[in-house]
Structures are given as C-alpha cells and as structure tokens.
C-alpha cells in the first residue's frame, strides 16, 4: 500500500475535529490512491514473466472495459424492455446521439466553457485567499488564535446551505456563483495549508536559521517546499469541493449558461437524454481535472523535490 510520509502523519492525528477530517481525507484520497495501487499490481508473477508487455496492457484494458460492458448491457436491456417509459430511461444510443448532437451544434462546449470559467474564477479566489490565510495561521500564533475559531464555525456548514444567503446578498448570476464557489472551496485549502506549515519539521527550520537564513529565505526555501504536499492536497480537495458545489450553484443562481443549468433546464422538458449527456460531461471534466491538472502539478513540484513518493 502506498502511503506518503505526509499522509501517515495526517492519518496519525486522529482527534480534534474538522481540521483532521479534512487533512485526512487524503488518507484514502480518491483517485490517486487508486491508480497507484492499480499500477502497483500490474502482474509481476514470478513464473510467467515471459508474457509480453503489450499482451499485459491489453489485458488491463479489457479488464477495465468489461464492467462497463456489463452495466451497459443491463441498461440497454432495461431500456429496451420498456419497464420504464423511454422518455425517462433512454437507451444508451439515444444518450450518445444527444451528446454528439449537442457537441456538434456547439451548445455543450459553450455550457462546459462557462462552467469551467466559473470554476477557475472561484477556485483562483479560494486558492489565493486560502493559502495566504493558512500560511498566516501556521506561522503566527496570534493569527491562528484569531482566525481558527471563525473558520471552525464556518466549515461544518455545507456549502450549498450558504447558497440562498449569497444570492440574497449578491443577487442572482455570476457574482454570487463565483463568490460562493470561492468561499466554499477555501476551507479545505486553509486547513491543509495551516496543517502543512505546522508540520514542517522543526529541525529544518532551526538548522536553516542556524545557517543564517533570514525570514524571507526561510519561507521561500524551507517552509514553502516543506508544506507544499499539504498545500497541494488542500488545493486538490478545494477543487473537488468547488466542482461538487458549482453544479448546484448554477441551478440555484440562475446563470444563463453552464452544465448544471443544462441538466436542470433539461428536466423541465423531460429530456433525460440531454441530462445524462450533461452528467457524462461533468464526470469526464471532473476526472480530467484530477488526472491532468493535479497529478502533473504534483509530479513537477513535490515529487521532483523528493518530498513525496510518486
């Protein structure tokens, strides 16, 4: 099993509430653990090492596709048997056709682009504010005492619950959507940055100081790299949270474009195929964000610096 050093630490702290809950999410973090393990047991059977690498790869692909074929077949069977009205339970080819149709006409890309833009804006806000607040809390006892109670009060309330309030205060539309996404995804970033700064080994800080590092260099060369695995975990959790909430926010805040709106709008017309196509796109984007953006970022920084085992 793969456990990074930082995670063993964060698995280790067990009590005292939300912080750790959020810190430890990475403990059995979602996508990354999975494929690390999946990579790890690509067959290394001692006797059968003659098997060609290509062959093994095909087997892996086949193994991953098989469950989808089974579920797809079941879905098709149910849809074609007519147990449910086809309007509500469309067969997969209809969903696929809707997906192609909407993509070709440019409607789906437009929705997706608006959603991503909103996600980026909200997340950038959260990342900037969250990392800054987290570092301040980790470095200064006073900041920690002042900010921690405020953050601990805000964090256990689910983000969606704030949505109506934000709409009341900032009106319908993009402003409240972006602010809400930023507000909600800031919490995991703050907590993880804070934990990360506090988890920087005392001995590193002291030895850097002994070697004459001033505050700025200490921060730049010791504290920042030392806490980066946590900060990245926080950013990743924040992004996941932002992504989860954005879909609902788009419905509630009545923005004119967006995947969330597409799904909720399609319900009014019983366009189940459009809804399922939209959900598929949401899933694909979510997966891509995790795989392409964060794993790459991690490889470029903490893994290369040897802070974390890839």
């Amino acid at each position: 099993m793969y456990l990074k050093e930082s995670e063993t630490f964060s698995c280790g702290i067990a009590t005292s509430g939300i912080i750790l809950e959020i810190g430890r999410v990475e403990c059995a973090g979602e996508w990354d653990v999975m494929d690390q393990v999946a990579d790890a047991h690509v067959p290394v059977m001692p006797g059968t090492s003659v098997v060609h690498a290509k062959d093994a790869r095909w087997r892996v692909i086949a193994r991953n596709v098989f469950p989808f074929l089974v579920v797809g077949a079941l879905w098709e069977a149910v849809a074609h048997l007519g147990v449910f009205p086809p309007r509500l339970f469309p067969p997969l080819e209809v969903v696929g056709a809707a997906l192609v149709r909407l993509t070709a006409s440019g409607i789906l890309p437009h929705h997706a682009a608006e959603t991503l833009l909103r996600l980026a804006a909200g997340f950038a806000l959260a990342a900037a504010a969250g990392v800054a607040i987290g570092i301040a809390m980790g470095r200064s006892r006073r900041a920690e005492d002042i900010i921690l109670p405020l953050v601990s009060i805000g964090a256990p309330i689910p983000g969606v619950a704030y949505a109506p309030l934000f709409m009341l205060w900032f009106g319908l539309g993009n402003v409240s959507a972006v602010l809400l996404v930023g507000f909600v995804s800031a919490f995991p970033i703050i907590f993880n940055t804070w934990t990360g700064v506090k988890a920087v080994k005392e001995i590193w800080v002291r030895s850097a100081q002994v070697m004459g590092a001033d505050n700025r260099r200490l921060f730049r060369h010791v504290i920042l790299p030392g806490s980066l695995p946590y900060i990245l975990t926080g950013l990743r959790l924040g992004l996941a949270q932002a992504w989860r909430i954005l879909v609902v926010v788009e419905l509630l805040a009545a923005v004119p474009w967006g995947l969330g709106w597409l799904i909720f709008g399609a319900r009014e017309f019983l366009n189940t195929d459009v809804m399922l196509a939209g959900i598929a796109v949401i899933g694909i984007i979510g997966l891509a964000l995790e795989k392409l953006v964060f794993q790459r970022l991690e490889n470029y920084t903490v893994v290369r610096w040897g802070m974390m085992v890839s």
């Binding site: 005492d145 309330i157 989860r244």
Partner: protein, 261 residues
Amino acid sequence: MSAERTRSILRAAAALIVVAACYEAIARSGIFPRALLPTLPTVADTLVQLVADGTMLRHAAYTLYRMLFGFALAVVVGLPLGILMGRFRSVENFFMPLASALMPIPSLAWVPVFILWFGLGNTVSILIVFYAAMFPMLLNAWSGVRSVNQLWLRAAGAMGADENALFWKVILPGASPFIITGLRQAFLRSWIAVVGAEMIAASDWGLGWVIYDAKEFLNADVMLASLAVIGLIGFAFERLVFGSIERATVLRWGMVRAAKG
C-alpha cells in the same frame, strides 16, 4: 502551557466578539436593508421562536431522517463491498472501474434525473445521500483492507488463525482507522448532499428546504437561524459521535496516535 492556553482562548473569544460587533454595527447602520442583514438579536430571536414552536425541530428531524437513512444504506452496501474488493481481486477488478467513473460526478448533479425517476420527496434525497456517502465508504474500506500489514496476516496465519479469525481479529481491526475515516467522510458528504437535495427536491420539510424557501420571502433571519442549526448538528456529529467512536476503537487499540495537544 496553561497561561498560553488561556491566552489562546481569550484571543479566540475576542476575535469572535469583534466579528460579531462588526456585523452588528453594519447591520444596524442601515447601509444594507434590514431584511437582508438582520441584527444578531433578531436572528437569535427567530431561532428561539422556531425552536420553541417546534418547526425547527421538525425540519431537523426530517433532514436527519433522510440523511441517516441514506447514510445507513451507504454503509450497509459500501462497507461490505469495499472489504470484498480489498480481499478479492476479481471483485476489485469489476467494481473499481465503475466506481472511478462514477466518483467524479457530483451527487447533486443527479438530483434532476432522480426527480424524474422517483418523483419529488424523500426517495430522491435518500438516494442522493446514498450516492454521496457510498464512495468514501467504499474506497476507505477497500484501501483499509489493502493496507493491513502483510506481516500481521502471515503471523496470524502461522499461528493457526483460520479465515474467520483472520478477518475478525486482524483484518477488521487493521482496517478500522480507514473505515472510521470513511464513515466520517461519508457523513460529511451526506450532510452536504442532504441539504442540497432538499433545496431542490423536498416539498415541505427539511433544513435545506427551509433555507431555500426563506429566500423567496426575504427572511434572512430564518436563513441564518437554519444555517446555525445545520452547522451545530454537523459539528455535534463530527465531534461527539465520531470523536467518541474513534476513542473507543482505534485510539484504544493503539492503531493511531492522538493529536498532540
């Protein structure tokens, strides 16, 4: 240490009081309409009133019912399935690709589809909670079982433990820190999901619904009061329920260290 602790508490209290005072000042100054930014006494008043006449309790009861139902369902399905996935390669090979495809889809995106399939009402909320809580439960049980120290398994095997004893005495306690993390995460997710689902799919009771409904009538005081209740319940569960489960199991078994300080 003690003096430092007192100072921390004093500072925390001071920070809360300052923020509350700022809020109060802004609310009273009349820059924003009173309906949008009610003063704290108004909010407290509303809260007391809603609790006293029982409506808030009823909302909370509905929400808790939906959440706990869905959460229990997720545990009943997710925990055994995750353990099976950890123990048997074939189960893992079948369910893991499915789980990783469904996981990145936010549970609330399914709400409109579920409404069409199951109608408005409790079923939708419960199923959404189930969907949201299922994956953290499943994945944590799975990685917990996988992360049980091989040495322990072999040692127990060498000492003559049969499959049954191995499971109850070694694998389950060994995986328990992950399982408890999974329960916590699942709980947190279900709490979010139930509030979101209620906003869209509930018809007359539920904390999510009351917040959303209060928006229609510009009752910011009701909204803030319900937010406080939601936060309080979430906090209570996290601290009291999961904190004590953890103390009674994994901490006592020495599976994880307690936090320093």
